[in-house]
């Protein structure tokens, strides 16, 4: 048996009261004991001793199973005692075992992998979501848009004609005209497309609408809405409400954006569809030009194009323009009467809810 103390530089708290004790330490290869005026505590096995880190030059140990029990040395513990002691954890057990730099490298590699998977995962998961689920989800999210869908017999027939020309083999469940004064069109989960009344009024001809509609049909065909939904769901779980900013949580279906590749693919589909239908792509090109001016001109768009999800309007305009075949005789997508029915759908539908921004739009 070896002994040391009592000594001012060795102290002990028993975890029962705050009184400071200066014990004598007795130890063998199996364990150690604290000899106090009140009596002896131990023999405790060495393995019960837990080193505590971050103690500012002092060496402090706890005892497994006794809260507040402390044995402390003013500096490092005396060498013959110390040989029995484990080292305190520094960065955490796993990292200490690997070494800081190895751990950093390993974690960085894993992190890159996780980020890559997280970015790609929505596009992998979305095609495997059953169509029936997506349809139910779309119904739950949109419903009848609070009675804001405009429809007359004439507009229904005209829209149906557009659908047959542009997406006959795409599982579209509905193309609706929404009484919302916004220059926009959206594809919703479950194969539903909304053309906003503001967009239709802004358009000069049915062919402009055809290009935009075909673009949205492209999104439906590629199930981009589901991908975006999965991504938003994942993001809002990971970031949304848990960054301490409840109100700033990612907001809304309109905030739901597609990747640039998805937008390009939808444009490609649109160009292909209107070509197949014999509709001129030039009105759509003009329309993108107009949209570009609305969003602050090409320079502003280029400056933000790294972040924006839509391809720059000028690029899209060029793509549509280039697809035009010189000398070809194009047919209008709708007759003048059909186009009028679409334009006036919201004015002529007797039971549509009155126009106005939907809250949250």
């Amino acid at each position: 048996m070896t002994s040391i103390g009592p000594d001012e530089g060795i102290w002990h708290f028993d975890g029962i009261s705050a009184t400071r004790h200066h014990p004598r330490l007795d130890w063998t290869a199996d364990g150690f004991a604290l000899v106090l005026e009140e009596g002896t505590s131990g023999l405790h096995p060495w393995s019960d001793l837990v080193p505590l880190g971050g103690t500012g030059g002092r060496s402090i140990y706890g005892l497994r199973g006794v809260n507040g029990w402390r044995l402390a040395f003013a500096g490092p513990p005396p060498a013959p005692f110390a040989v029995h002691l484990p080292l305190p954890a520094r960065y955490g057990r796993w990292i200490d075992r690997l070494g800081l730099w190895w751990a950093l490298g390993l974690f960085a590699g894993l992190a890159a992998l996780v980020v890559l998977i997280a970015l790609r995962a929505p596009a992998w998961i979305a095609p495997h979501v059953p169509i029936a689920w997506e349809q139910k989800l779309g119904d739950a999210m949109v419903g009848d848009l609070g009675g804001r869908l405009c429809e007359t017999p004439g507009s229904r027939a005209a829209i149906e004609k557009l659908r047959r020309q542009l997406g006959a083999d795409v599982p579209i469940r509905q193309i609706g005209i929404a009484n919302v004064p916004m220059i926009n069109a959206v594809a919703m989960p479950g194969g539903r497309i909304l053309l906003f009344d503001g967009l239709i009024r802004e358009a000069k001809s049915p062919d402009e609408i055809a290009g935009v509609l075909a673009h949205e049909i492209g999104h439906v065909r590629n199930r981009d809405t589901m991908t975006a939904l999965v991504r938003q769901l994942g993001l809002s779980v990971l970031l949304g409400g848990f960054d301490g900013n409840v109100g700033g949580a990612i907001n809304g279906l309109l905030a739901m954006s597609y990747s640039r590749e998805a937008e390009r693919a939808a444009d490609l589909y649109s160009i292909g569809a209107i070509r197949a239908a014999g509709i001129s792509p030039l009105p759509t090109a003009v329309f993108f030009d107009k949209l570009g001016k609305l969003s602050g001109g090409e320079r502003a768009e280029r400056a933000m194009s790294w972040m924006a999800s839509h391809p720059v309007s000028a690029e899209r305009k060029a793509a549509f323009e280039q697809s035009a075949v010189k000398g070809k005789r194009y047919v209008p997508s709708l007759s003048a009467a059909e186009w009028r029915a679409v334009v006036n759908a919201c004015r002529e539908d007797p039971d549509v809810k009155k126009a106005g921004p939907i809250f949250g739009f």
Binding site: F13, D14, G15, I16, S17, A18, T19, R20, L52, G53, G54, T55, G56, I60, N67, G68, W69, R70, Y91, G92, I95, L100, A103, L104, F107, A108, L110, A111, V114, V115, A140, M141, V142, G143, D144, L145, G146, G147, R148, L233, S236, V237, G240, G241, F242, D243, G244, N245, V246, A249, I250, N251, G252, L253, K353, I358, F359, G360
Partner: protein, 364 residues
Amino acid sequence: MGEGLPMADDGKRAFGFSGTWRDYAPIAFTNLLLTIVTLGVYRFRATTRTRRYLWSRTRFVDEPLEWGGTGLELLIGFLIVLVVLGPPFLFLNFGMQALIFQGHVALAFGIGFVAFAIILYMSGLASFRMLRYRLSQTWWHGIRGGSNDKGWAYGWSYIWRNFVGAFPAYLLMPWAMISLWNERWNAMSFGPFAFRGEAESGGLYKRFLIFYQLPFLLVIGAIALPFLFDGRMKPVEPGSEPSTALLLFFMVVPLTLFLILPLIALAFYSKFLRVAVDGLSLATLDFRFTARTKDWFKLVLGDVALVILTLGIGAIFLAYRHWKFFIDHLDATGEISLSELTQSTTAAPGQGEGLADAFDMGAF
């Protein structure tokens, strides 16, 4: 009694902080690195390392404090919050929108109101649980603090006191803040002794009223200013030189908004914390907090400079600065009997302050 530890007999403060930023820098930088490469998972362990350091360099009378919490507890707290708050947040993100989309605006706002009430309740609960967790993991002489109260009732108290405080045009907010502080601390203990929070809100009103009236005065001033300089109002004609009064107006308004208002809020908060801590005692110990508005101002200015001059990296030192500030201005007088300071019998919570974390709450 031979074991009594008198305080302030040798001119030394009861609390002292002996850390240096050079000591802390390796902890701060490795925490940052590890947190980045683990995509944030290390953050819980990082918090624990920071606290271990800060507590161990904080002396109370003759012995440093010790932080006993673990990263795992904080992780568990975070996961619990994820499960509890996840569904309501998902509803607010998706469900509410869907309801509005379908035209059920009243229902959407009704549920939104309930969600708001739940969030308010949870905020109260969070501030209680945070204090309880921190005390339960703060050790001194092998003794810890804690509370047997789980804070469920405090959550309600938080709602109704804030409501009563806000109802008469916000005039009772100082009362609400102080009474909540007292209620929180009255549920806490260290060892066998209960904390007593007996602060009174009366002394806060002078500053509160200055803070409270300022926006009104500003509006009046903003209207009066052009008259003072111009004598009469002139319509600004396109192309004409803007008048001095107008220029002044556009300088004064942002200046007051971004400088004077926060400054007065700081003055109020500084007084609040002095009053609140001065009313706090534990057995024969009386606590005191000495930071004045000018100290707070320097702290905030230092924070801003530190973060801006280091392009954001300096933010990793904020926790250190704030803790040092807090301890440097905390004092206690009285006497403490070590043999009577026996182990706390309160239940130690097994999970950390995830809720307070979710609401981004500060320490005090």
